[in-house]
Amino acid sequence: MASSRKVRVLVAKPGLDGHDRGAKVVARALRDAGFEVIYTGIRQTPEAIAEAALQEDVDVVGLSILSGAHMALVPKIMRLLKEKGLNDVLVLVGGIIPDEDVPKLKALGVKGVFGPGTLTTDIIAFIRRELNLDTEEAPKAA
């Protein structure tokens, strides 16, 4: 009956591409890793994503972008998250991101960038490490 903090993750697809297979696979894997995943679906505006992150009080925001518009969308989302006081949320980007853009995204505050071929177990391990989950009571791994 101990009080338990569940890790909450928002999985969102900003922008106009409708390819949500990757986002769904990741959402499912995170669920199986014991996280509570809030899935918002495709074609989300940066404002909608930041507001959902706020209302749901998430620990992690995962953005899936395959449209190539990441350098337009991610800065907006990062700015809105900060404006709403969500400075401490762990932001991850997945999708097709050219190598040269990775440092730019990280400079904006994105902690992890995951390209095609990433194992879901790597994403889960990354989140657990960033949130210091392994040192405390942790959700069961899949």
Partner: protein, 340 residues
């Protein structure tokens, strides 16, 4: 596992009551995660509660509950009312994780400062609601939302917890989900104050509508019971004057939704004028107390049982060494809680 720099509960409450949504979000998390702080929050907020009208939306998976909630919230906003939404999806019994997908159907509401949506996972609760639903309702109520819409998990036939958490219960049906014998079974259908046949543009909607109509015509008018002892000696005919209406809606297009919201408001008036509201409020209070007391007693018991003894007893029951009743006796004895 909260690594954030944490403002005090008192600071959060003050900020939230002043309209800070970030503070509200964190209060809900505290309440949902239970524990000492949760109790402090709820104690502090309780005096601010009791103003919101609480509407439950329940029904089988895929009947369109999320879309209907989206449409209803929009309608309430047009009427100048603020709306808090709690959308519940199941927790996996295996991983403890959950996929909360109701927001996908609620895109119209994002960015409206008069709407707050929170997704909740059931976290082991089996009655169609999340464990801390009533507590989160209290928080939203204290924040001054005029209407609180609770969307249950997709239910089967017997998940009726919503009946003791909401003032008005809407049961959503959709065409093609079952023959008319489904309509006369006990359970979810009995707790409805209002019925909705959603997806009414689909084939079979009329048949679903008629099956419900027939069912309502057959039974006594007072078909809302919760299996709670306190209901048993209620005088017959308490609900006289409220026959659950049936509405057809096409939630994706908003059709039938203004009429549905009118009916919710009529039901609210009916509850107030008939004295039924006071009765439902005491029922909600009893339910809340029951819930808190159970948790407190269980926590107290586990505190007093020596480390590892509970788990060991579970194993002995599983191995058929003792029966579960003897196991409970044993645990009560360990905790020195047995009857005098």
């Amino acid at each position: 596992m909260n690594t954030r720099s944490a403002p005090s509960v008192e600071e959060l409450i003050t900020a939230a009551l002043a309209g800070d949504r970030r503070a509200l979000a964190r209060l809900i998390t505290i309440v949902e995660n239970d524990g000492e702080q949760a109790r402090a929050v709820l104690q502090r907020l309780y005096p601010h509660t009791g103003r919101a009208h609480i509407v439950g939306i329940t029904g089988a998976p895929g009947t369109g509950k999320s879309t209907l909630v989206n449409a209803m919230a929009r309608e309430y906003r047009q009427r100048g009312m603020t709306v808090g939404i709690i959308a519940i999806d199941p927790t996996s019994p295996f991983s403890g994780g959950a996929l909360l997908g109701d927001r996908v159907r609620m895109k119209d509401l994002v960015g409206d400062p008069g709407v707050y949506i929170r997704s909740m996972a059931t976290r082991g609760s089996l009655g169609g609601l999340a464990r801390a639903t009533d507590d989160v309702v209290l928080v939203l109520d204290a924040m001054g939302f005029d209407r609180i819409l609770i969307e249950t998990v997709g239910v089967g036939q017997a998940e009726v917890d919503i009946a003791s958490s909401a003032h008005t219960v809407i049961v959503v049906e959709a065409p093609g989900l079952g023959d008319d014998i489904q309509a006369i079974k006990a359970g979810v259908l009995e707790i409805a104050d209002i019925f909705v046949v959603n997806k009414a543009d689909r084939e079979g909607a009329d048949r679903t509508f008629m099956a419900l109509q027939t069912m309502l015509g057959l039974g006594p008018r007072t078909v809302r019971h919760h299996g709670r002892a306190m209901r048993v000696d209620m005088p017959e005919g308490t609900h006289e004057g409220w026959r659950p209406p049936i509405f057809k809606t096409v939630a994706t297009r908003g059709e039938g939704v203004p009429e549905l919201v009118d009916a919710v408001e009529q039901h609210r008036h009916f509850l107030e004028e008939s004295g039924e509201m006071a009765r439902r409020e005491s029922e909600r209070a009893a339910h809340l107390l029951d819930h808190i007391l159970r948790d407190a007693l269980m926590a107290r018991l586990l505190e007093r049982v020596p480390e590892g003894n509970f788990e060991a007893t579970v194993e002995r029951v599983a191995a058929r060494e003792i029966d579960p009743y003897a196991a409970v006796e044993h645990l009560m004895h360990e905790a020195a809680l047995e009857a005098e």
